[in-house]
Amino acid sequence: MTTTPWPEWPAAANLWASNDRAVEMARVILGSADAPVGLTPKELVWRKNKARLYRYVRAEPATHATPIFLVLPLINRSYILDLRPGASFVEFLLSQGFDVFLIDWGTAADEDQGLDVTALVTRYLPRAAKAIQRASGADQMTVLGYCIGGTLATCFAALHPEVTRNLVLLTAPLDFSDAGQFGRMTASGVFPIEQLTATFPVVPGQLPDIGTKLLNPLASYVGTYRQLWDKLGTENFDVRGWQAMYRWVNESVPFAGAAFRQWIVEFYRENRLALDELEMDGRPVRLADIRCPVLNIAASRDQIAPRPTTNIVTERVGSADASEILIEGGHVGIVVGRTASQDLWPKVGAWLSAHD
């Protein structure tokens, strides 16, 4: 390992010259917990246990016939696709004339320890879809899932082809045969999943969060603050934008114990979905049963859902219309990063319009 020599140490008299910026840095970081996010107006359409289905309010009627059903990951808050004005995928979809619904999984508590992925896919998503049918008047919808939400959306689309007009997957891991660092971290004999879920009825959100940050520890635990330090010295630094992103990355959600166990065992370790061995409520979940148009969006530098986990979709689904967009960037950056509004969103919007 090569390291550079120590830089010249500043004069003692100047040690506190950056005091103001240090205080400002602390203020920005501590204030991020209250950063305004998820500001697009929405109304409650349906609820079950902690889950809520929202419909985003439109000033004018939708110009597209097919509503969009956003399925979020279980480890994030619901605002991640509606971060803030100008950096909101939801806002973009509304501006393109779509009727947008979103399922917020809420915050699992001890009484949800038995709630597994199967229940979410077979008892929650179908009823939410029915509520969308009622509210929108449309028989079918575009199901759009992000990350783990994409995996759930895929299972739902395979089990309910009658309501799925299109399936859009945003960095959704489906094949865990080569799941990268996450796969190694959660391997059998390494990760004590049974002991973990026996101890915690709901797995603390910090655990998956730490796992995510350990994928790139230096950048997560040091680089973030090093960048903030630099940005605080520049004019026109968007403090609110930085705080919103920081809040997203650091505001974790507890994972219901049974869902976490099923996610680790059946998906990561046994790779049942990709191997056509997954069953939910006695019904086989097969990728080949997805016959609607499919758009798979992958990120080139994704460490959370690395490329090998996302690239089987177009080959394995039974659809004749399955395409893929590979975006330059990371797992989070491609959705709300600076280039998202110029790169990803217009491409998704164009695809959705063409498949309305």
């Binding site: 390992m1 100047n14 950056s18 001890d110 949800d112 008892r123 004590p192």
Partner: protein
């Protein structure tokens, strides 16, 4: 020119930290990535987690015993109550599903012609 540039590196004590990080970030990241990808790291972190879980379980068990002795509801008691409510909600949902299915079936039935009135005048 940014405030940092105006201040100059000599006046910024954090510049030392920044320069060190910038110069070594790639090397350190590569070393960390290599270390964390090893079987030894996996085994070690797994054992560490197991130990922490055992300690946590012990704390939880002791607290539950204490609360039960004091006749105070435990987290498990509250969770069981919540599970009952969730189970009840699921049953209501199942009833609604069946009603929906019946409603759909009735709507799908072809409309029959109304029979002529045959009652006594």
């Amino acid at each position: 020119m940014t405030k940092a540039e105006e201040a100059g590196p000599k006046t910024d004590p954090f510049e030392v930290w920044r320069q060190l990080y910038d110069a070594n970030e790639r090397t350190w990241s590569a070393a960390l990535e290599q270390a964390m990808g090893s079987q030894e790291f996996g085994d070690s972190s797994g054992k560490l987690l197991e130990t922490m879980l055992a300690a946590q379980k012990s704390v939880r068990d002791n607290m539950r015993t204490y609360l039960e002795t004091m006749n105070v509801p435990t987290r498990e008691d509250m969770a069981r109550l919540g599970e009952l409510v969730i189970g009840l909600e699921e049953k209501v949902d199942q009833v609604l599903d069946r009603l929906d299915a019946i409603e759909d079936a009735v709507r799908a039935m072809p409309a029959k012609k109304a029979k002529p009135a045959t009652g006594a005048r």
